[in-house]
Protein backbone atom coordinates (compact mmCIF):
# COMPACT_ATOMS: atom_id res chain seq x y z
CA UNK A 1 0.00 0.00 0.00
CA UNK A 2 1.26 3.46 -0.79
CA UNK A 3 1.53 6.07 1.92
CA UNK A 4 -1.49 7.94 0.55
CA UNK A 5 -3.71 4.89 0.40
CA UNK A 6 -2.64 4.03 3.93
CA UNK A 7 -3.49 7.52 5.14
CA UNK A 8 -6.86 7.42 3.37
CA UNK A 9 -7.70 4.02 4.91
CA UNK A 10 -6.64 5.34 8.31
CA UNK A 11 -8.77 8.49 8.09
CA UNK A 12 -11.77 6.53 6.83
CA UNK A 13 -11.40 4.07 9.73
CA UNK A 14 -11.17 6.95 12.20
CA UNK A 15 -14.30 8.56 10.74
CA UNK A 16 -16.10 5.21 10.81
CA UNK A 17 -15.09 4.64 14.44
CA UNK A 18 -16.24 8.14 15.39
CA UNK A 19 -19.61 7.88 13.64
CA UNK A 20 -20.38 4.22 14.43
CA UNK A 21 -22.24 4.65 17.74
CA UNK A 22 -24.28 7.50 16.26
CA UNK A 23 -25.41 5.41 13.32
CA UNK A 24 -25.75 2.02 15.01
CA UNK A 25 -27.90 2.23 18.11
CA UNK A 26 -28.28 -1.43 19.08
CA UNK A 27 -26.58 -1.79 22.49
CA UNK A 28 -24.86 -5.11 21.68
CA UNK A 29 -23.27 -3.66 18.55
CA UNK A 30 -22.26 -0.54 20.41
CA UNK A 31 -20.72 -2.63 23.14
CA UNK A 32 -18.84 -4.74 20.62
CA UNK A 33 -17.40 -1.58 19.05
CA UNK A 34 -16.17 -0.36 22.46
CA UNK A 35 -14.62 -3.77 23.09
CA UNK A 36 -12.83 -3.55 19.77
CA UNK A 37 -11.43 -0.12 20.58
CA UNK A 38 -10.33 -1.19 24.06
CA UNK A 39 -8.74 -4.38 22.78
CA UNK A 40 -7.02 -2.48 20.00
CA UNK A 41 -5.59 -0.01 22.50
CA UNK A 42 -4.14 -2.84 24.57
CA UNK A 43 -2.69 -4.51 21.48
CA UNK A 44 -1.01 -1.28 20.36
CA UNK A 45 0.37 -0.77 23.88
CA UNK A 46 1.68 -4.37 23.98
CA UNK A 47 3.23 -3.93 20.55
CA UNK A 48 5.70 -1.27 21.77
CA UNK A 49 7.48 -3.91 23.83
CA UNK A 50 6.49 -7.14 22.10
CA UNK A 51 6.40 -5.98 18.50
CA UNK A 52 9.09 -3.34 18.10
CA UNK A 53 11.53 -4.48 20.77
CA UNK A 54 10.71 -8.15 20.20
CA UNK A 55 10.30 -8.85 23.93
CA UNK A 56 7.21 -11.02 24.04
CA UNK A 57 5.36 -10.40 27.30
CA UNK A 58 2.67 -12.85 28.32
CA UNK A 59 2.07 -11.13 31.63
CA UNK A 60 0.71 -7.77 30.55
CA UNK A 61 -2.56 -8.35 32.43
CA UNK A 62 -0.55 -7.52 35.55
CA UNK A 63 -0.23 -3.95 34.26
CA UNK A 64 -3.81 -3.78 32.99
CA UNK A 65 -4.95 -4.95 36.43
CA UNK A 66 -2.68 -2.45 38.14
CA UNK A 67 -4.46 0.33 36.29
CA UNK A 68 -7.88 -1.06 37.17
CA UNK A 69 -7.06 -1.57 40.85
CA UNK A 70 -5.10 1.65 41.46
CA UNK A 71 -7.80 3.94 40.08
CA UNK A 72 -10.58 1.95 41.78
CA UNK A 73 -8.87 1.97 45.18
CA UNK A 74 -7.97 5.65 44.94
CA UNK A 75 -11.53 6.54 44.06
CA UNK A 76 -13.20 4.28 46.65
CA UNK A 77 -10.86 5.02 49.56
CA UNK A 78 -9.79 8.60 48.90
CA UNK A 79 -12.41 9.97 46.54
CA UNK A 80 -9.84 10.66 43.84
CA UNK A 81 -11.29 11.15 40.35
CA UNK A 82 -10.68 8.09 38.18
CA UNK A 83 -9.07 10.40 35.62
CA UNK A 84 -6.32 11.15 38.12
CA UNK A 85 -6.44 7.46 39.05
CA UNK A 86 -5.78 6.59 35.42
CA UNK A 87 -2.55 8.59 35.47
CA UNK A 88 -1.60 7.21 38.87
CA UNK A 89 -2.28 3.67 37.62
CA UNK A 90 -0.04 4.30 34.63
CA UNK A 91 2.73 5.57 36.90
CA UNK A 92 2.43 2.63 39.30
CA UNK A 93 2.44 0.16 36.39
CA UNK A 94 5.55 1.82 34.93
CA UNK A 95 7.29 1.56 38.30
CA UNK A 96 6.19 -2.07 38.65
CA UNK A 97 7.50 -2.80 35.15
CA UNK A 98 10.90 -1.46 36.17
CA UNK A 99 11.00 -3.87 39.11
CA UNK A 100 9.93 -6.77 36.89
CA UNK A 101 12.09 -5.78 33.94
CA UNK A 102 15.35 -5.66 35.86
CA UNK A 103 15.53 -9.43 36.43
CA UNK A 104 13.45 -10.54 33.43
CA UNK A 105 15.43 -8.67 30.76
CA UNK A 106 18.43 -10.79 31.60
CA UNK A 107 16.52 -13.61 29.95
CA UNK A 108 16.36 -14.00 26.20
CA UNK A 109 13.63 -14.96 23.78
CA UNK A 110 11.28 -17.64 25.03
CA UNK A 111 12.71 -17.49 28.54
CA UNK A 112 11.66 -13.86 28.86
CA UNK A 113 8.14 -14.80 27.74
CA UNK A 114 8.01 -17.61 30.31
CA UNK A 115 9.18 -15.30 33.09
CA UNK A 116 6.44 -12.82 32.27
CA UNK A 117 3.83 -15.60 32.50
CA UNK A 118 5.15 -16.32 35.98
CA UNK A 119 5.00 -12.66 36.95
CA UNK A 120 1.41 -12.44 35.74
CA UNK A 121 0.45 -15.51 37.73
CA UNK A 122 2.21 -14.23 40.85
CA UNK A 123 0.40 -10.89 40.73
CA UNK A 124 -2.91 -12.66 40.22
CA UNK A 125 -2.30 -15.04 43.15
CA UNK A 126 -1.20 -12.12 45.32
CA UNK A 127 -4.36 -10.11 44.71
CA UNK A 128 -6.52 -13.22 45.10
CA UNK A 129 -5.29 -13.66 48.63
CA UNK A 130 -5.08 -10.01 49.67
CA UNK A 131 -8.21 -8.89 51.49
CA UNK A 132 -7.40 -5.17 51.31
CA UNK A 133 -7.37 -5.52 47.53
CA UNK A 134 -10.75 -7.22 47.53
CA UNK A 135 -9.32 -10.73 47.40
CA UNK A 136 -10.91 -13.16 44.99
CA UNK A 137 -14.27 -11.37 45.31
CA UNK A 138 -13.07 -8.13 43.79
CA UNK A 139 -14.81 -4.78 43.93
CA UNK A 140 -18.09 -3.41 42.71
CA UNK A 141 -17.41 0.22 41.98
CA UNK A 142 -19.88 2.60 43.66
CA UNK A 143 -22.22 4.21 41.21
CA UNK A 144 -22.30 7.63 42.79
CA UNK A 145 -21.05 10.47 40.68
CA UNK A 146 -22.37 10.11 37.18
CA UNK A 147 -20.70 12.27 34.57
CA UNK A 148 -17.29 13.43 33.48
CA UNK A 149 -15.68 13.96 36.91
CA UNK A 150 -16.77 10.56 38.18
CA UNK A 151 -15.91 8.83 34.88
CA UNK A 152 -19.23 6.95 35.09
CA UNK A 153 -22.20 6.98 32.76
CA UNK A 154 -25.26 4.88 33.34
CA UNK A 155 -27.70 5.46 30.55
CA UNK A 156 -25.56 5.90 27.48
CA UNK A 157 -22.49 3.98 26.39
CA UNK A 158 -21.45 6.79 24.06
CA UNK A 159 -18.94 8.46 26.43
CA UNK A 160 -17.09 5.16 26.87
CA UNK A 161 -16.86 4.76 23.13
CA UNK A 162 -15.21 8.14 22.69
CA UNK A 163 -12.93 7.73 25.70
CA UNK A 164 -11.81 4.36 24.31
CA UNK A 165 -11.23 5.96 20.91
CA UNK A 166 -9.30 8.83 22.51
CA UNK A 167 -7.15 6.44 24.52
CA UNK A 168 -6.45 4.40 21.39
CA UNK A 169 -5.39 7.56 19.54
CA UNK A 170 -3.16 8.56 22.46
CA UNK A 171 -1.56 5.10 22.47
CA UNK A 172 -1.05 5.24 18.70
CA UNK A 173 0.56 8.67 19.05
CA UNK A 174 2.99 7.44 21.68
CA UNK A 175 3.79 4.47 19.47
CA UNK A 176 4.31 6.71 16.45
CA UNK A 177 6.56 9.10 18.37
CA UNK A 178 8.65 6.16 19.56
CA UNK A 179 9.13 4.87 16.02
CA UNK A 180 10.12 8.36 14.88
CA UNK A 181 12.80 8.79 17.55
CA UNK A 182 16.11 7.05 18.07
CA UNK A 183 14.34 4.82 20.61
CA UNK A 184 12.31 3.19 17.84
CA UNK A 185 15.42 2.50 15.75
CA UNK A 186 17.17 1.07 18.79
CA UNK A 187 14.23 -1.21 19.63
CA UNK A 188 14.14 -2.65 16.11
CA UNK A 189 17.92 -3.10 16.21
CA UNK A 190 17.65 -4.91 19.56
CA UNK A 191 14.99 -7.20 18.13
CA UNK A 192 17.03 -8.05 15.02
CA UNK A 193 20.53 -8.44 16.49
CA UNK A 194 21.00 -7.61 20.17
CA UNK A 195 24.78 -8.14 20.14
CA UNK A 196 25.27 -5.92 17.11
CA UNK A 197 23.13 -3.26 18.80
CA UNK A 198 25.34 -3.40 21.89
CA UNK A 199 28.46 -3.07 19.78
CA UNK A 200 27.00 0.21 18.48
CA UNK A 201 26.53 1.56 21.99
CA UNK A 202 22.92 0.54 22.61
CA UNK A 203 22.24 -0.38 26.23
CA UNK A 204 19.82 -3.31 25.94
CA UNK A 205 18.56 -2.96 29.49
CA UNK A 206 17.83 0.74 29.25
CA UNK A 207 15.94 0.63 25.97
CA UNK A 208 13.97 -2.52 26.71
CA UNK A 209 13.01 -0.84 29.97
CA UNK A 210 11.85 2.33 28.22
CA UNK A 211 9.69 0.20 25.92
CA UNK A 212 8.30 -1.79 28.83
CA UNK A 213 7.48 1.28 30.91
CA UNK A 214 5.61 2.96 28.05
CA UNK A 215 3.86 -0.27 27.16
CA UNK A 216 2.79 -1.08 30.71
CA UNK A 217 1.69 2.47 31.56
CA UNK A 218 -0.56 2.55 28.50
CA UNK A 219 -1.96 -0.92 29.26
CA UNK A 220 -2.72 0.28 32.80
CA UNK A 221 -4.66 3.25 31.45
CA UNK A 222 -6.73 0.76 29.49
CA UNK A 223 -7.32 -1.06 32.77
CA UNK A 224 -8.79 2.05 34.39
CA UNK A 225 -11.13 2.51 31.46
CA UNK A 226 -12.23 -1.12 31.80
CA UNK A 227 -12.95 -0.71 35.51
CA UNK A 228 -14.99 2.43 34.94
CA UNK A 229 -16.94 0.86 32.12
CA UNK A 230 -17.72 -2.46 33.80
CA UNK A 231 -17.92 -1.04 37.36
CA UNK A 232 -16.71 -4.39 38.60
CA UNK A 233 -13.19 -5.77 38.85
CA UNK A 234 -11.79 -9.01 40.21
CA UNK A 235 -8.57 -10.93 39.55
CA UNK A 236 -10.29 -13.16 36.99
CA UNK A 237 -11.40 -10.31 34.77
CA UNK A 238 -8.40 -7.99 35.05
CA UNK A 239 -5.36 -10.12 35.87
CA UNK A 240 -5.89 -13.42 34.07
CA UNK A 241 -3.30 -15.04 31.84
CA UNK A 242 -5.86 -15.38 29.07
CA UNK A 243 -6.12 -11.58 29.03
CA UNK A 244 -2.33 -11.37 28.71
CA UNK A 245 -2.43 -13.82 25.84
CA UNK A 246 -5.19 -11.83 24.19
CA UNK A 247 -3.10 -8.64 24.22
CA UNK A 248 -0.24 -10.48 22.56
CA UNK A 249 -2.53 -12.29 20.17
CA UNK A 250 -4.21 -9.21 18.68
CA UNK A 251 -0.79 -7.73 17.91
CA UNK A 252 0.54 -10.98 16.48
CA UNK A 253 -2.63 -11.61 14.47
CA UNK A 254 -2.61 -8.11 13.01
CA UNK A 255 1.13 -7.89 12.51
CA UNK A 256 3.80 -7.33 15.14
CA UNK A 257 5.94 -4.26 14.88
CA UNK A 258 3.48 -2.36 12.71
CA UNK A 259 1.59 0.70 13.89
CA UNK A 260 -1.90 -0.38 12.88
CA UNK A 261 -1.56 -4.18 12.91
CA UNK A 262 -2.92 -4.60 16.45
CA UNK A 263 -6.05 -2.61 15.51
CA UNK A 264 -6.77 -4.98 12.64
CA UNK A 265 -6.09 -7.92 14.92
CA UNK A 266 -8.38 -6.55 17.63
CA UNK A 267 -11.27 -6.03 15.22
CA UNK A 268 -10.95 -9.54 13.81
CA UNK A 269 -10.45 -11.25 17.18
CA UNK A 270 -13.26 -9.37 18.93
CA UNK A 271 -15.61 -10.15 16.07
CA UNK A 272 -14.76 -13.86 16.30
CA UNK A 273 -15.18 -13.83 20.08
CA UNK A 274 -18.49 -12.04 20.07
CA UNK A 275 -19.80 -14.28 17.30
CA UNK A 276 -18.80 -17.40 19.22
CA UNK A 277 -20.38 -15.98 22.38
CA UNK A 278 -23.65 -15.32 20.61
CA UNK A 279 -23.45 -18.66 18.79
CA UNK A 280 -22.68 -20.83 21.80
CA UNK A 281 -24.27 -18.70 24.51
CA UNK A 282 -23.65 -19.73 28.09
CA UNK A 283 -22.42 -23.17 27.04
CA UNK A 284 -19.59 -21.50 25.17
CA UNK A 285 -17.41 -20.71 28.16
CA UNK A 286 -13.89 -21.43 27.09
CA UNK A 287 -14.55 -21.19 23.37
CA UNK A 288 -12.46 -18.01 23.38
CA UNK A 289 -9.49 -20.10 24.53
CA UNK A 290 -10.10 -22.59 21.73
CA UNK A 291 -10.19 -19.71 19.28
CA UNK A 292 -6.92 -18.30 20.67
CA UNK A 293 -5.22 -21.66 20.39
CA UNK A 294 -6.42 -22.19 16.85
CA UNK A 295 -5.34 -18.71 15.79
CA UNK A 296 -1.87 -19.10 17.28
CA UNK A 297 -1.37 -22.31 15.29
CA UNK A 298 -2.70 -20.82 12.06
CA UNK A 299 -0.56 -17.67 12.35
CA UNK A 300 2.55 -19.61 13.28
CA UNK A 301 2.17 -21.95 10.32
CA UNK A 302 0.81 -19.73 7.55
CA UNK A 303 1.35 -16.07 8.32
CA UNK A 304 4.04 -15.24 10.89
CA UNK A 305 3.95 -11.58 9.89
CA UNK A 306 0.20 -11.32 10.54
CA UNK A 307 -2.57 -9.74 8.52
CA UNK A 308 -0.59 -6.56 7.83
CA UNK A 309 2.28 -8.69 6.51
CA UNK A 310 -0.15 -10.28 4.09
CA UNK A 311 -1.47 -6.85 3.08
CA UNK A 312 2.06 -5.56 2.52
CA UNK A 313 2.79 -8.43 0.16
CA UNK A 314 -0.57 -8.31 -1.59
CA UNK A 315 -0.36 -4.57 -2.24
CA UNK A 316 3.32 -3.64 -2.13
CA UNK A 317 4.24 0.01 -1.78
CA UNK A 318 5.24 1.61 -5.08
CA UNK A 319 8.10 4.05 -5.50
CA UNK A 320 11.87 3.93 -5.79
CA UNK A 321 12.39 2.32 -2.41
CA UNK A 322 11.89 -1.43 -2.70
CA UNK A 323 10.41 -2.71 0.53
CA UNK A 324 12.18 -5.46 2.31
CA UNK A 325 10.65 -8.66 3.46
CA UNK A 326 7.59 -7.92 5.60
CA UNK A 327 8.27 -6.98 9.17
CA UNK A 328 9.98 -9.92 10.76
CA UNK A 329 7.66 -12.23 12.63
CA UNK A 330 7.21 -12.78 16.29
CA UNK A 331 10.24 -14.65 17.49
CA UNK A 332 13.60 -13.25 16.46
CA UNK A 333 15.07 -16.74 16.74
CA UNK A 334 12.59 -18.12 14.29
CA UNK A 335 13.85 -16.30 11.24
CA UNK A 336 16.54 -17.71 9.00
CA UNK A 337 19.92 -16.14 9.61
Amino acid sequence: MSRRTGLAVGLASLLGAALFPLLVTRPTWQNTAILMLMTAQLGVAWNILGGYAGQVSLGHAAFFGTGAYVSTLLSMRLGVSPWAGMLAGGAVAAALSAVIGWPCFRLKGHYFAMATIAVGEIVQALVNGWEALGGAVGFSLPFTESGLWGFVWGRSKLPYHYIALGLLLLTLSVNWLVTRSHVGYYLRAIKDEPDAARSLGVSLGRYKQIAMMLSSALAAMGGTLYAQKELFIDPGSTLSTSLSIKMALVAILGGVGTLTGPIVGAVVLTAIEEASRIGFGGTGRGTDLIVYGLLIVVIAVYQPSGIMGWVARRWPAPGPAPTGPPAAGLAPEAKPS
Binding site: Y185, R198, S199, G324, P325
Partner: protein
Protein backbone atom coordinates in the same frame (compact mmCIF):
# COMPACT_ATOMS: atom_id res chain seq x y z
CA UNK B 1 55.59 9.76 26.37
CA UNK B 2 51.85 9.48 25.94
CA UNK B 3 50.15 6.11 26.24
CA UNK B 4 49.43 4.21 23.02
CA UNK B 5 45.82 4.17 21.81
CA UNK B 6 45.40 0.52 22.69
CA UNK B 7 47.51 -1.49 25.06
CA UNK B 8 46.79 -5.14 25.78
CA UNK B 9 48.71 -6.49 28.77
CA UNK B 10 48.94 -10.20 29.55
CA UNK B 11 45.37 -10.81 28.49
CA UNK B 12 44.15 -14.27 29.51
CA UNK B 13 40.75 -15.75 28.83
CA UNK B 14 39.69 -19.19 29.99
CA UNK B 15 36.43 -20.95 29.29
CA UNK B 16 36.29 -23.56 32.00
CA UNK B 17 39.37 -25.67 31.37
CA UNK B 18 39.95 -24.30 27.89
CA UNK B 19 42.53 -21.54 27.64
CA UNK B 20 41.54 -19.41 24.63
CA UNK B 21 44.07 -16.63 25.22
CA UNK B 22 47.12 -16.73 27.44
CA UNK B 23 49.31 -13.73 28.28
CA UNK B 24 48.50 -11.94 25.07
CA UNK B 25 50.21 -8.55 24.95
CA UNK B 26 50.45 -6.02 22.14
CA UNK B 27 49.87 -2.35 21.59
CA UNK B 28 48.67 -0.08 18.85
CA UNK B 29 49.27 3.61 18.16
CA UNK B 30 46.67 6.04 16.91
CA UNK B 31 45.96 5.64 13.20
CA UNK B 32 47.88 2.37 12.89
CA UNK B 33 46.70 -0.85 11.29
CA UNK B 34 47.49 -4.02 13.19
CA UNK B 35 47.00 -7.37 11.53
CA UNK B 36 46.02 -10.19 13.85
CA UNK B 37 46.61 -13.56 12.19
CA UNK B 38 46.93 -17.17 13.13
CA UNK B 39 45.47 -20.59 12.39
CA UNK B 40 41.85 -21.42 13.13
CA UNK B 41 41.21 -21.75 16.83
CA UNK B 42 44.25 -19.64 17.73
CA UNK B 43 42.06 -17.27 19.76
CA UNK B 44 41.83 -14.28 17.42
CA UNK B 45 38.09 -13.79 17.79
CA UNK B 46 38.38 -14.25 21.56
CA UNK B 47 40.85 -11.35 21.66
CA UNK B 48 38.31 -9.35 19.67
CA UNK B 49 35.47 -10.19 21.97
CA UNK B 50 37.56 -9.17 24.97
CA UNK B 51 38.56 -5.89 23.32
CA UNK B 52 34.95 -5.10 22.41
CA UNK B 53 33.64 -5.97 25.87
CA UNK B 54 31.73 -9.11 24.93
CA UNK B 55 33.94 -11.37 27.07
CA UNK B 56 35.32 -10.07 30.33
CA UNK B 57 38.95 -11.27 30.42
CA UNK B 58 39.91 -13.81 33.09
CA UNK B 59 43.00 -11.77 33.86
CA UNK B 60 45.14 -9.07 32.28
CA UNK B 61 44.31 -5.53 31.35
CA UNK B 62 43.18 -3.64 28.29
CA UNK B 63 43.94 0.09 28.18
CA UNK B 64 42.47 2.66 25.87
CA UNK B 65 44.51 5.86 25.97
CA UNK B 66 45.92 4.52 29.23
CA UNK B 67 42.49 4.03 30.73
CA UNK B 68 41.65 0.48 31.89
CA UNK B 69 38.57 -0.82 30.04
CA UNK B 70 38.73 -4.60 30.56
CA UNK B 71 35.40 -5.90 31.82
CA UNK B 72 33.33 -2.91 30.68
CA UNK B 73 30.18 -3.90 28.77
CA UNK B 74 30.16 -3.54 24.95
CA UNK B 75 27.95 -0.46 24.95
CA UNK B 76 30.39 1.40 27.21
CA UNK B 77 33.37 0.34 25.11
CA UNK B 78 31.53 1.54 22.01
CA UNK B 79 30.92 4.90 23.68
CA UNK B 80 34.66 5.14 24.41
CA UNK B 81 35.35 4.92 20.69
CA UNK B 82 35.82 1.25 19.84
CA UNK B 83 33.65 -0.19 17.06
CA UNK B 84 33.62 -3.70 15.65
CA UNK B 85 32.28 -5.93 12.91
CA UNK B 86 31.26 -9.55 13.34
CA UNK B 87 32.88 -12.59 11.78
CA UNK B 88 29.43 -13.95 10.99
CA UNK B 89 27.57 -10.89 9.77
CA UNK B 90 24.94 -9.43 12.04
CA UNK B 91 23.18 -6.74 10.09
CA UNK B 92 19.72 -5.64 11.22
CA UNK B 93 17.96 -7.65 8.54
CA UNK B 94 14.50 -6.13 8.71
CA UNK B 95 15.86 -2.58 8.55
CA UNK B 96 17.09 -0.80 5.45
CA UNK B 97 20.79 -0.27 4.80
CA UNK B 98 20.43 3.41 5.69
CA UNK B 99 18.58 2.60 8.93
CA UNK B 100 21.33 0.14 9.90
CA UNK B 101 23.93 2.86 9.60
CA UNK B 102 21.69 5.38 11.37
CA UNK B 103 21.67 3.13 14.43
CA UNK B 104 25.46 3.48 14.45
CA UNK B 105 25.36 7.24 13.97
CA UNK B 106 22.90 7.59 16.84
CA UNK B 107 25.63 6.73 19.33
CA UNK B 108 26.87 10.33 19.01
CA UNK B 109 23.82 12.04 17.53
CA UNK B 110 20.40 11.06 18.84
CA UNK B 111 18.45 13.40 16.58
CA UNK B 112 17.09 11.27 13.74
CA UNK B 113 17.62 13.94 11.05
CA UNK B 114 21.28 14.43 11.90
CA UNK B 115 21.84 10.67 12.22
CA UNK B 116 20.34 10.20 8.76
CA UNK B 117 22.62 12.82 7.21
CA UNK B 118 25.72 11.31 8.82
CA UNK B 119 24.65 7.82 7.80
CA UNK B 120 24.29 8.95 4.20
CA UNK B 121 27.78 10.41 4.33
CA UNK B 122 29.18 7.18 5.78
CA UNK B 123 27.45 5.14 3.06
CA UNK B 124 28.94 7.39 0.41
CA UNK B 125 32.37 6.87 2.00
CA UNK B 126 32.16 3.08 1.75
CA UNK B 127 30.37 3.13 -1.60
CA UNK B 128 27.14 1.53 -0.43
CA UNK B 129 25.04 4.63 -1.00
CA UNK B 130 23.19 3.29 -4.02
CA UNK B 131 21.86 0.44 -1.84
CA UNK B 132 20.64 2.79 0.91
CA UNK B 133 16.98 1.89 0.71
CA UNK B 134 17.40 -1.85 0.23
CA UNK B 135 16.48 -4.14 3.13
CA UNK B 136 19.80 -5.13 4.69
CA UNK B 137 18.88 -8.82 4.60
CA UNK B 138 18.81 -8.66 0.79
CA UNK B 139 22.41 -7.61 0.32
CA UNK B 140 25.11 -10.01 -0.80
CA UNK B 141 27.49 -11.25 1.90
CA UNK B 142 30.22 -8.91 0.62
CA UNK B 143 27.80 -5.99 0.82
CA UNK B 144 26.63 -7.01 4.29
CA UNK B 145 30.25 -7.04 5.48
CA UNK B 146 30.72 -3.61 3.99
CA UNK B 147 27.51 -2.49 5.71
CA UNK B 148 28.88 -3.65 9.05
CA UNK B 149 32.01 -1.59 8.47
CA UNK B 150 29.90 1.43 7.50
CA UNK B 151 27.71 1.02 10.55
CA UNK B 152 30.77 0.78 12.79
CA UNK B 153 32.35 3.85 11.16
CA UNK B 154 29.16 5.82 11.79
CA UNK B 155 29.85 5.56 15.53
CA UNK B 156 32.93 7.76 14.86
CA UNK B 157 35.39 5.30 16.41
CA UNK B 158 39.05 5.89 17.19
CA UNK B 159 39.65 2.17 16.95
CA UNK B 160 37.92 -0.15 14.53
CA UNK B 161 37.99 -3.93 15.01
CA UNK B 162 37.49 -5.74 11.71
CA UNK B 163 36.80 -9.46 12.05
CA UNK B 164 37.50 -11.27 8.76
CA UNK B 165 35.86 -8.69 6.55
CA UNK B 166 37.63 -10.21 3.56
CA UNK B 167 36.80 -13.87 4.14
CA UNK B 168 34.72 -15.42 1.42
CA UNK B 169 35.12 -12.49 -0.95
CA UNK B 170 36.21 -12.68 -4.59
CA UNK B 171 39.59 -11.31 -5.67
CA UNK B 172 37.98 -8.09 -6.89
CA UNK B 173 36.02 -7.70 -3.68
CA UNK B 174 39.18 -8.23 -1.61
CA UNK B 175 40.85 -5.42 -3.57
CA UNK B 176 37.87 -3.16 -2.84
CA UNK B 177 38.05 -4.05 0.84
CA UNK B 178 41.80 -3.35 0.96
CA UNK B 179 41.19 0.01 -0.65
CA UNK B 180 38.42 0.76 1.87
CA UNK B 181 40.60 -0.07 4.88
CA UNK B 182 43.35 2.14 3.48
CA UNK B 183 40.91 5.03 3.25
CA UNK B 184 39.69 4.36 6.79
CA UNK B 185 43.26 4.67 8.03
CA UNK B 186 43.62 7.89 6.06
CA UNK B 187 40.77 9.29 8.19
CA UNK B 188 42.91 8.69 11.24
CA UNK B 189 41.02 5.65 12.53
CA UNK B 190 43.22 2.87 13.87
CA UNK B 191 42.26 -0.69 12.95
CA UNK B 192 42.83 -4.14 14.34
CA UNK B 193 42.23 -6.52 11.46
CA UNK B 194 41.67 -10.23 11.99
CA UNK B 195 42.24 -11.84 8.64
CA UNK B 196 43.05 -15.10 6.93
CA UNK B 197 43.34 -13.48 3.53
CA UNK B 198 47.07 -12.70 3.47
CA UNK B 199 47.08 -10.74 0.23
CA UNK B 200 44.45 -8.55 1.89
CA UNK B 201 46.24 -7.83 5.15
CA UNK B 202 49.98 -7.97 4.29
CA UNK B 203 50.09 -4.81 2.15
CA UNK B 204 48.13 -2.60 4.55
CA UNK B 205 49.23 -3.65 8.02
CA UNK B 206 51.81 -1.54 9.84
CA UNK B 207 52.43 -4.41 12.17
CA UNK B 208 51.33 -8.01 12.54
CA UNK B 209 50.66 -10.07 15.62
CA UNK B 210 50.59 -13.84 15.15
CA UNK B 211 48.62 -16.00 17.55
CA UNK B 212 48.91 -19.72 17.95
CA UNK B 213 47.05 -21.75 20.57
CA UNK B 214 46.11 -18.60 22.41
CA UNK B 215 49.65 -17.19 22.65
CA UNK B 216 51.52 -14.53 20.71
CA UNK B 217 54.29 -16.25 18.72
CA UNK B 218 55.42 -13.25 16.69
CA UNK B 219 54.96 -9.49 16.60
CA UNK B 220 56.53 -7.22 14.00
CA UNK B 221 56.29 -5.57 10.58
CA UNK B 222 54.67 -7.71 7.84
CA UNK B 223 57.93 -8.41 5.99
CA UNK B 224 59.60 -9.71 9.13
CA UNK B 225 56.57 -11.82 9.95
CA UNK B 226 56.45 -13.28 6.47
CA UNK B 227 60.04 -14.51 6.75
CA UNK B 228 59.83 -15.64 10.37
CA UNK B 229 60.41 -19.41 10.40
CA UNK B 230 58.25 -19.88 13.50
CA UNK B 231 55.28 -18.23 11.80
CA UNK B 232 55.84 -20.11 8.57
CA UNK B 233 55.89 -23.40 10.41
CA UNK B 234 52.84 -22.60 12.48
CA UNK B 235 50.63 -20.91 9.98
CA UNK B 236 51.74 -19.41 6.71
CA UNK B 237 53.47 -22.28 4.99
CA UNK B 238 56.19 -21.77 2.38
CA UNK B 239 53.89 -19.96 -0.02
CA UNK B 240 54.05 -16.63 1.77
CA UNK B 241 57.73 -16.66 2.71
CA UNK B 242 59.23 -13.28 1.92
CA UNK B 243 62.34 -13.43 -0.22
CA UNK B 244 65.42 -12.99 1.94
CA UNK B 245 67.37 -9.76 1.96
Amino acid sequence: MSAPLLQVERLTKRFGGLVANEDVSFSLGAGEILGLIGPNGAGKTTVFNSLAGFFPPTSGEIRLDGRPVAGLPPERIAALGVARTFQIVRVFRSMTVLENVMVGAMLRHKAVRIARRLAEAALAFTGLDRRSHEAAGRLTVAEQKRLEVTRALATEPRLLLLDEVMAGLTQAEVQEAVEMVTRIRARGTACVVVEHVMEGIMPIADRMVVLERGRVIADGPPRAIASDPVVIAAYLGEEYRAPGP
